[in-house]
Point group: C2
């Protein structure tokens, strides 16, 4: 290591570059068929409607849109979010239950700051979202991974972990179309998690960036909707249903806890982009976001169906994969002993990229897994790319 | 305290609401003459030019502007910032020395994450910027305040503090038109700080949100321009020269250290608003920001002159105040034993607000001080407000 002219915090030695972000740099070249990112389909962004909304906001109240605003966020937007969540989940929130965050990612970092001391234990799905691991790890926590199956986290294992670990401060879950596996929790598990966490006084972060993007089956109520005591906070974002470039997400929860998040956000970055908040709010006034979401869902469903069909027909029998009901990702398990990083190298030689699954396990292992994204590419490239992956896998096994 | 359904991190018990943000809530009423905020003059925001720039960005490359981008930031904007800093300071930076942050406030939080372990010592001016105290304190640091005079931090006191404290990890300073005092460091002190910090291997954060807003005298080179080893990082922002609502700032420094900031930002919020970065970049292409800054400077100079004149003629002899050469703030010291919070209460009864100075001292005390902002109000309200303050002060002494 270079000799540095400064001394860093201890945490820097345990901070690694996000493997995804590093792979994404390689995959900027247009000839690469990339299943690596988590990017929404840009051709669906409502560019003209954003242009109109932004222009109207500046025309009607430009001084306000370009000035500082409150840490909590733009009130009409907070109210819209609360109303929508209430309608979907039968809850009774208002704007004071909502803090606007810089994407749902920031909600995770703030959660780390609000809940985690050095040495605290975070219980999470195994595997779990890579950038949540980075966010929480920077607060010096320890991860205990809870086994999951096709219905979500296994509740008996969760209870065992709570019994066995003293400093459990946070349970982190992604119940809808999980990143990275694409799996969705059953209704029972949701209710059960709310009960178990409440009776143990443990905060829950229900990370829900993908919940709106369901292709098959019926929406399920959030874990937060079963929260009787106020210990469950749910994140959400406009990144997947509107656009990620604006970096506007939120965290919803008990007003007393949201106040702590607000306090912490004051020191972190004062507030979110005023113009972005007002423009989204104006867009929501001027457009029917549900019909926009419908177009996103139809596009992603087509791509997902094609991906699943191609994997079914092309992948060897001993390669397992998930068939998600929504979201952006599917998960592939190669036979034990296969190294997905080696497969990646060989795929890259043939201009195909994905993310090896090992990074999604905070405590390591599982190098035979990998994640693919199916939302970001036109249909023919999905088929072509998965065929190449299938060839490489067959050659390597 | 309410019984909470969750347990918080230890740091939450030492996190207080920003006094400014709380006062600002009170001062939303239009009849209030508020010297409390740090708001730029909204009537100077280039609303029409922003409208055009934003519209052009969406027209030319809307998909890119609304999509995710890199953590480092939008390259043309990073290059513009590096070039401008080079021109002003004679440095030789390029885009790799620049990370785009969510306002310069985020650069402070990231600096805390990069440098501070629990119990580390931060050396800062006494007084110093309130929200830097919050940002750093959340990492469990201890503040040692270094006495300052009209030329900046007293260097002999700085050296003494470095000798006396083992875990000094960070020196935090605001050399131009300091918040809260409005004071500016001399050239000698800048050079000297660079030397002392380098020879002691201590990171420096040179916080410079106001440097572009000088009314009197010549610009001075940054502390970073005297940095021979790479231990000085400088923040900057578009909030004061363009608009704060976009939340776009930066941190500039040694490329190896900027890489650590990038790593940390990945976990914090992935990246800044793509559209905001591209729109500022387009605005800079389409407009001459220097003539815009000139208008800001002239407006603020008029307001500052008026404020200083009014304080000179109306305040009692034993009230001292600074006469800033730039920036947004002046600092007032009432006679020892006077409580600025009591003065504030009486002023609020007469619809005038400011920020008591005690909060700007991380280790407390100095309750006889206060900060006023002179950038945000039309001239006649400045005079009226300061006359009321003078009356209240006279009645109270």
């Amino acid at each position: 290591m270079d000799e540095m002219p400064v001394r860093f915090a201890e945490r820097i030695s345990r901070t690694k570059a996000s493997e995804i972000r590093e792979i994404l740099k390689v995959t900027q070249r247009p000839e690469i068929i990339s299943f690596a990112g988590g990017l929404p389909a840009p051709e669906l962004f409502p560019v003209d409607a954003v242009k109109k909304a932004g222009s109207d906001v500046l025309g009607e109240d430009g001084m306000k849109a370009l000035q500082y605003t409150t840490t909590e966020g733009y009130d009409p937007l907070r109210t819209w979010i609360a109303d929508r969540l209430n309608r979907k989940n039968g809850t009774t929130m208002n704007k004071d239950n909502i803090l606007i965050t810089h994407g749902s990612q920031q909600a995770l970092d703030l959660a780390g700051k609000v809940f985690l001391d050095e040495g605290d234990v975070v219980l999470c799905e195994s595997p779990t979202y890579l950038a949540a691991i980075s966010a929480f790890r920077s607060y010096g926590c320890i991860f205990r991974e809870i086994p999951t199956d096709d219905h979500g986290m296994v509740m008996s294992e969760l209870e065992k972990a709570i019994e066995e670990n003293e400093n459990v401060k946070l349970i982190y879950v992604i119940p809808n179309f999980q990143n990275p596996t694409g799996r969705t929790w059953s209704l029972d598990r949701r209710r059960e998690l709310a009960r178990i966490s409440a009776s143990n006084n443990i905060a829950v972060i229900e990370d829900d960036p993908y919940g709106e993007i369901r292709f098959r089956g019926d929406d399920l109520p959030s874990i937060r909707s079963f929260d009787a005591v106020g210990n469950v906070m749910a994140t959400g974002t406009f990144s997947k249903i509107f656009c990620p470039g604006f970096r506007i997400g939120w965290i919803a929860g008990d007003e007393r806890i949201i106040k702590k998040f607000v306090l912490v956000k004051q020191g972190v970055d004062l507030q979110c982009n005023t113009f972005a908040q007002m423009t989204i709010s104006k867009y929501l006034e001027q457009n029917d976001i549900d019909s926009h979401i419908l177009v996103i869902k139809e596009t992603y469903r087509t791509r997902r169906d094609l991906a699943v069909e191609t994997m079914r027909s092309e992948f060897p029998e001993n390669v397992r994969f998930t068939e998600p009901d929504g979201g952006l990702f599917a998960w592939i398990e190669l036979p034990e002993g296969t190294d997905a990083r080696v497969i990646l190298e060989r795929c890259l030689e043939r201009n195909v990229a994905f993310v090896p699954g090992g990074s999604f396990f905070p405590n390591g292992g599982h190098e035979n897994t990998l994640r693919i994204n199916f939302s970001n590419m036109p249909e023919e490239r999905i088929v072509k790319g998965l065929r190449i992956m299938a060839d490489v896998i067959k050659e390597s096994l």
